[in-house]
């Protein structure tokens, strides 16, 4: 064979491709000869952490992935669940952390583009986007421009394609100073009997390329996404891709139009590692070979080599296998949408990937052996021990409880993120029933009276202190947020963001978080249907807090039966569901008021979580609840303040008699709790009692102040000013990407 002879394969070249000596030995075995540079590049991306999950695979297998309503779990482009009436929800979350740190606008924008493609690849129309963002300390000089660029980028892409961005999360912590997290999630809607998969079949069938042309974008992005940063990363600034949301919008419409016809056998987006991983995945899943003529690939630049074409990460491209004879009909659709369309190859029975260019063979590799021999590591782990539980009495009371409340609601993590979501079109498609700001967003299933609830959650403080508890808590909180709006939680996607897995303590965090997620998923019947792993979020040996972001989806059968955060009318009763112990370890109170972050995170009692949630959901469905909010960061008083701020209606509450110090009652972060407003709170407490659910009558809403007996009062207006004020003031006159 005649391969480009240009680049000799030296040990340095092998190393620059991120392959260890041992991995390279395996390459030689599989090839039976020295690979050429194109082949080496292909091995390198296919065996990168990003594509092969070599460090995480062993642990991911632990995740529960089945339930009667799961149509397709992990392993495809996105997870698929049955939501009744012949419909399916398709969703996944994915990270774009490293690219967003290097170029926040384009990094975040292309992250959204990528996850959208994962969802519409499966035949679903995207109906909502969400995000999960983590930035460095607010006083770190890079934080402000990163927030600005990332938010503008997520909005810039989602707004243009016309998919509402309806929910998300955003926290700050110094551990993200050098490694921000930008996780994006898309939820789509499809007919349950019209899901498209990546499995290629039919020897001789045409392989078709559609979308944008291929340029030299992001070559080696997939390996970059798996490499730890060092201090020179900023200087290197490699390979950032630019997104084109306009083309993505056309691609969505064209693909969905073609999908309505009976023409596609298999389809796969070209994400990280572009044409390489998409063609490998399609052929590998179908057990067939593939032959591609690289001269047929639409290119943007002249003189592109096979290496560049195969490894390019140009955005807005898809690969399909069509039924024979359907090429012309398909071409007409893509030309109508002014997109490139090219038959670039065909399926073969050789089990090999053969690439040709200029009449010569540019690469020839076996498909299965390459995938099967992909390295899997069982890396050593070391668990983070459970810290000692802080007794409430060991945490001093604040100078004033209402003053502490004002500080908390105006702190970076708990303040209103309106400044962010107002830059996202969260209403386009005219089905957003519950806009950003609630426990979960609700998007109506178009043309029906049913809705999907969705949220992203994770508390990295808890995960850092005790990964297993933190992992379980993230899932439980996601489940609780869906429950709080009246939805039946159905399934999750997870985005595992961690440091360097070669360090046992990091691998231990990973393994323990997975274990916690597993326990919670099992206890709550809340399986994992898709996910993504981002490792090496580490700069100069300092890792991020372990951050397993959880994205959850739930179903509301009747949109008239749901709940929301704001109080609805003065005079209604306020009831607390769940057990309060006053747990202050790892709490927002401890961090914001005392500058401490010690202690164990609050324990997660999954049985209580489930029982309390099931009770609350039933009460909402029965129309007995006028407002509902789960208790999370900041504790009960923050939850009450949020209900008051959202409505402009105050409240007057009294702590039940007992040994818990008032500040621990106010700010403890005990899990499994909800605040409900009801016209008849006493009756609600009684029903809870009969059902064996802990419930206490707290007081009534009304007036313009929030009052806690023994702690005084604060005006709702003042709370609001603090709550709404922090982020806009922090961002100041920042001009973001607007001038660009």
């Amino acid at each position: 064979m005649s391969a480009p002879k240009s680049t000799p394969i030296t040990p340095e070249v092998v190393k620059a491709h991120g392959l260890t000596e041992d991995e390279y030995r395996r390459v030689l075995e599989i090839m039976g000869r020295e690979p050429n540079i194109t082949e080496l590049g292909i091995f390198s991306v296919m065996w990168s952490e990003h594509c092969s999950y070599k460090s995480s695979r062993k642990w991911l297998r632990r995740l529960p992935t089945t339930a009667p309503w799961v149509i397709c779990g992990p392993g495809e482009n996105a997870g698929v669940i049955d939501i009744g009436d012949g419909l399916a929800a398709v969703f996944k979350m994915e990270s774009h952390n490293h690219p967003s740190f290097i170029e926040p606008y384009q990094g975040a924008a292309t992250g959204v583009g990528g996850i959208l493609r994962d969802v519409f690849t499966m035949g679903a129309r995207p109906i909502a986007n969400l995000d999960a963002l983590r930035f460095g300390a607010p006083d770190h000089p890079r934080t402000r421009p990163l927030v600005s660029g990332v938010v503008a980028g997520i909005g810039g892409y989602g707004n243009c394609v016309g998919v509402p961005t309806v929910a998300g999360s955003c926290d700050f912590d110094a551990s993200y100073n050098g490694n921000i997290l930008v996780n994006a999630m898309t939820v789509g809607l499809a007919r349950a009997d019209r899901i498209f998969y990546a499995k290629a079949s039919g020897v001789g069938n045409p392989v078709v390329y559609v979308g944008s042309k291929t340029g030299r974008d992001g070559i080696h992005g997939a390996t970059m996404a798996s490499a730890e940063f060092d201090d020179t990363a900023e200087a290197k600034r490699p390979t950032v891709q630019v997104g084109d949301p306009f083309t993505e919008k056309l691609l969505i419409e064209a693909c969905l139009e073609l999908m309505a016809e009976d023409a596609i056998i298999a389809i796969q987006d070209m994400g990280a590692a572009g044409l390489t991983s998409s063609s490998f995945e399609m052929a590998g899943k179908g057990g067939v070979g593939v032959e591609i003529d690289l001269d047929m690939v639409p290119v943007r630049e002249t003189g592109m080599t096979p290496y560049e074409i195969m490894l390019s990460e140009s955005q807005e491209r898809m690969l399909m296998v069509l039924k024979p004879g359907r090429e012309d009909a398909a071409r007409a659709i893509f030309e109508k949408w002014e997109l490139d369309f090219a038959v670039i190859g065909k399926l073969t029975d050789t089990g090999r990937m053969v690439l040709k260019m200029g009449g010569e063979i540019a690469a020839d590799l076996p498909i299965d052996p390459l995938s099967e021999a992909a390295p899997v590591y069982d890396r050593p782990t070391s668990s983070t021990p459970l810290p000692t539980t802080l007794a409430a009495a060991d945490v001093p009371a604040p100078a004033g409880i209402m003053g502490a409340l004002e500080t908390l609601v105006g702190s970076p993590d708990l303040c209103s993120k309106r400044w962010i979501w107002e830059q996202y079109d969260h209403m386009v498609m005219a089905d957003t029933v519950e806009r950003p700001g609630g426990d979960a967003a609700i998007v109506r299933i178009h043309d029906t009276n049913r809705g999907l609830a969705m949220t992203t959650d994770c508390n990295p403080r808890y995960c850092g202190a005790h990964p297993r508890t933190g992992g379980a808590q993230a899932v439980a909180e996601c489940w609780r947020n869906l429950t709080a709006v009246g939805a039946r939680p159905l399934a999750i996607t997870d985005n595992m963001n961690f440091g360097n897995p070669e360090r046992p303590e990091i691998m231990g965090q990973f393994a323990d978080c997975i274990e916690g997620i597993r326990e919670a998923c099992l206890a709550l019947d809340f399986p994992v249907v898709s996910g993504n792993v981002s490792l090496y979020n580490e700069t100069s040996g300092k890792g991020i807090l372990p951050t397993p972001a959880i994205g959850g989806v739930g179903l509301i059968d009747d949109l008239a039966r749901r709940a929301s955060v704001p109080f609805k009318a003065a005079g209604e009763d306020i009831v607390l569901i769940g057990t309060t112990a006053g747990h202050l370890g790892c709490s927002a109170f401890l961090r914001e008021i005392h500058g401490r972050r010690d202690g164990a995170p609050p324990p997660v009692d999954l049985a209580a979580e489930r029982a309390n949630g099931d009770f609350v959901r039933a009460e909402i469905a029965a129309g007995k609840v006028t407002a509902c909010h789960d208790v999370s960061d900041g504790g009960l008083l923050v939850a009450l303040a949020e209900m008051a701020m959202a409505s402009g209606i105050g409240a007057e509450v009294t702590a039940p008699e007992g040994p818990i110090p008032l500040h621990a009652f106010a700010f403890g972060e005990d899990q499994g709790r909800y605040v409900l407003a009801a016209r008849d709170g006493r009756a609600l407490v009684e029903r809870a009692g009969k059902a064996g659910i802990p419930a206490v009558f707290l007081g009534k809403c009304g007036g313009t102040e929030l009052t806690l007996a023994g702690a005084g009062a604060i005006s709702v207006a003042r709370l609001r000013a603090a709550h709404e004020g922090w982020l806009p003031a922090y961002m100041g006159d920042d001009m973001g990407h607007g001038a660009a």
Partner: protein, 80 residues
């Protein structure tokens, strides 16, 4: 001193705007249009009479704000 800064996408970086403009020109019936690239153009007044110092200051502005040097190049022109 009056300065003009041109900020353009680096060679090889996708320019969706330029591409769309090219297509639009074609569909308006203009023929023979090759590649189209769009950039930014910033005019500003700097209180600095020494060209070398002005140029240095403008370079800093470009690096810090006016250009995104990950994907963009810049060029500084001074009026005399």
């Amino acid at each position: 001193m009056r300065a003009r800064v041109h900020v353009t996408l680096k060679q090889g970086v996708l320019d969706p705007q330029g591409k769309a403009i090219g297509n639009a020109l074609k569909s308006l019936g203009f023929s023979g249009i090759g590649e189209v690239r769009q950039g930014k153009f910033i005019e500003l007044e700097v209180a600095e009479s020494d060209p070398a110092r002005a140029r240095q200051k403008l370079g800093e502005m470009c690096e810090k704000l006016l250009a995104n040097t990950v994907i963009e190049d810049y060029r500084i022109d001074l009026d005399h």
